[in-house]
């Protein structure tokens, strides 16, 4: 039973990464199945622009799924994801063609997300308030601010920026890969990995010398950043800002993360799962279109697919209590 020590010594990182796929294979199979089905129904998917266009549809959902998953790993949850995406889009659309310029606008978007995320984190962590109500309140406040900045859809994004991110080249896919890698890097830092311990067992983690509060607050800040970046992308994709564009992302981000196996009690789940969950939700829309489903069939099928994706891998465990 015992592994030769030398083997384990040489490479620990990759086996650890591999072991995190536990419980996700079912979902991965479903997602790959849908990708193949999509490619079969729409062969144009297998071209550079096909991939580009599809990832553009998926990209914002992928980002908010990550944003939600991070918070769920801390044992929290956010109902402010959607409004924060809207705010990101609105800030981008009002700054990038104005005096701050494109770079200034991107910086403003990023700082908005980091700042709001950090403040919510401090409120939740330091004042010991339940995350779900704090973020519910934050949703109203953030949504209000977005309406103040841009009372009705408008603003503009530099055309080159839209063409860059949401043109015919899969730049968004590249950005997504970079973001996923950055997350891997963050998880490879002591603070990043501590997120799991801080979420599942804050007392034990504190006693092990983990800076629990810091780990959680940083998670909120990163989450905020991801949301406004999703907003920035939506603004680029649409070429403008809309103060209510993000609303649907709140529920979808939760659905994607939970679909991906991220648990509510903290410390359970993986980012790859959340990404796979968001990919499935996004793929489903296009696949159902090509299958020619009527709206009624779309709703019914959507319900069945997401239940099925979660239930199928569980079937073998039906009778177990423990």
């Amino acid at each position: 039973m015992s592994t030769p020590s030398a083997v384990a010594q040489r490479s620990l990182y990759w086996p650890v990464q591999w072991s995190r796929n536990r419980g996700l294979f079912g979902l991965f199979v479903v997602v790959v199945g849908f990708l193949l089905l999509y490619a079969y129904l729409f062969p144009g998917f297998l071209s550079v622009s096909g991939v580009a266009k599809f990832t553009q549809s998926w990209f914002p959902l992928a980002l908010v799924a990550m944003a939600q998953a991070i918070l769920m790993l801390t044992g929290g949850i956010s109902l402010a994801i959607g409004p924060l995406v809207s705010l990101g889009a609105v800030v981008a659309a009002t700054t990038m063609t104005g005096p701050p310029g494109a770079l200034g606008g991107i910086a403003a978007v990023a700082l908005t997300g980091l700042g709001i995320g950090a403040v919510s984190g401090v409120i939740v962590v330091r004042l010991r308030l339940p995350a779900i109500v704090v973020t519910l309140a934050a949703a109203f406040i953030i949504g209000g601010v977005a309406l103040l900045i841009l009372p009705r859809p408008g603003g503009a994004i530099p055309l080159w920026f839209s063409e860059l991110l949401a043109g015919n080249m899969p730049v968004a896919l590249g950005v997504l890969v970079v973001i996923a890698l950055l997350w891997k890097v963050y998880l490879a830092t002591p603070l990043g990995l501590s997120l799991y311990a801080a979420g599942e067992n804050p007392v034990g983690a504190y006693r092990s010398g983990v800076p629990v509060d810091a780990a959680r607050i940083v998670a909120y800040a990163i989450s905020g950043l991801l949301c406004t970046l999703a907003g920035l992308f939506v603004a680029a994709q649409t070429g403008s800002g809309d103060p209510v564009i993000g609303n649907a992302f709140t529920l979808n981000s939760i659905a994607a993360a939970v679909l991906g196996g991220v648990g509510f009690l903290g410390g359970r789940g993986t980012m790859r799962g959340a990404l796979a969950g968001s990919l499935l939700l996004s793929l489903m829309i296009s696949v159902m279109f090509f299958l020619g489903f009527s709206p009624v069939a779309q709703y019914v099928a959507q319900g069945l697919i997401i239940i099925g994706a979660v239930a199928l891998p569980e079937i073998r465990r039906w009778r177990t209590v423990v």
Binding site: P60, L147, P151, P153, S240, P295
Partner: protein, 324 residues
Amino acid sequence: QANAAAKCITGDRKPPYTLGWANIYSVPTWMKQTEGTITSMVEELKKEGLVDELVITDAQGDANTQIQQIQSMIDADVDAILLIAGSSTAPARVIEAACAKGIAVINFDSLVDTDQVTAKINTDSNKWGDTAAKWLIEQLGGKGKILVLNGPAGVSVSEDRRAGANEALAANPGIEILAETNTAYNVAPAQEAVTSLLFAHPEIDGVLSLGGALSAGAILAMDKQGRPMVPITGENARQFLELWKDKGLTSWATMQPNWLGALAAYAAVKALQGEDVPAFIEVPLPIIDNSNIDEYLARAADFPADGYIYSPYDQKLFDELIAQ
């Protein structure tokens, strides 16, 4: 005549056509009625051999999903896209891409801020607000305290109707706006908001309601509190029209006809066939008031209880509108 009369039309698409309707949300009764007008028009066109298929997508209220679905329609190379936009800005780029591929794009009801479409079809939301405000001001003799009921904030239809009312209100300083609300275009939230406002304001002379369900909610609120009915504006919602008659109100309503959908399907086919379709088809706003409300109510039984009683339409009417 050149085969490419209208924008986005390249002239190389031959009937029968495949039409795609990118709807924003299928579930509300309003949308079901609209869908009904579209499908019956498509049936007629199918008989004429002009259309072979209608594909409908439902974005479940999410403008981002709608973009993805429009992209799918482009990928599937439909011949025309009919669009009710979930955001006045968001679908602009993808719609331009559709237009560039020679797909006829007919945007109706909720419009997009781009001119890269074959045609837009709508009533004039600004005029909606303006006429409503003028009617109410006239009813009040230019003096009185009013409530203003708006649709949801940040949505262009509701912002446009409200903006349309501004000029008339500003010109009549005798009109005092006690309070404004923003709610979804639904009865219950409007009733809830108006009830609270009635308690806060013992004296109210009129209600400028910029949506049919909002008017119904306001009447229910006033009725429940036993407050005297005041002049109120509205729209052709069946519940509102019935309450109007029931409570013996003096009211005014206009109509955003559901058959804009049928007109869009018709216009798409016309454009694809190379006919000249104007970039903007303005559908006139009819007036419903105490003189003609009975005509509308006479047909009430043909419409869902929570639906809208729209005026009759046929291809002849559409031809006239397109020719204008």
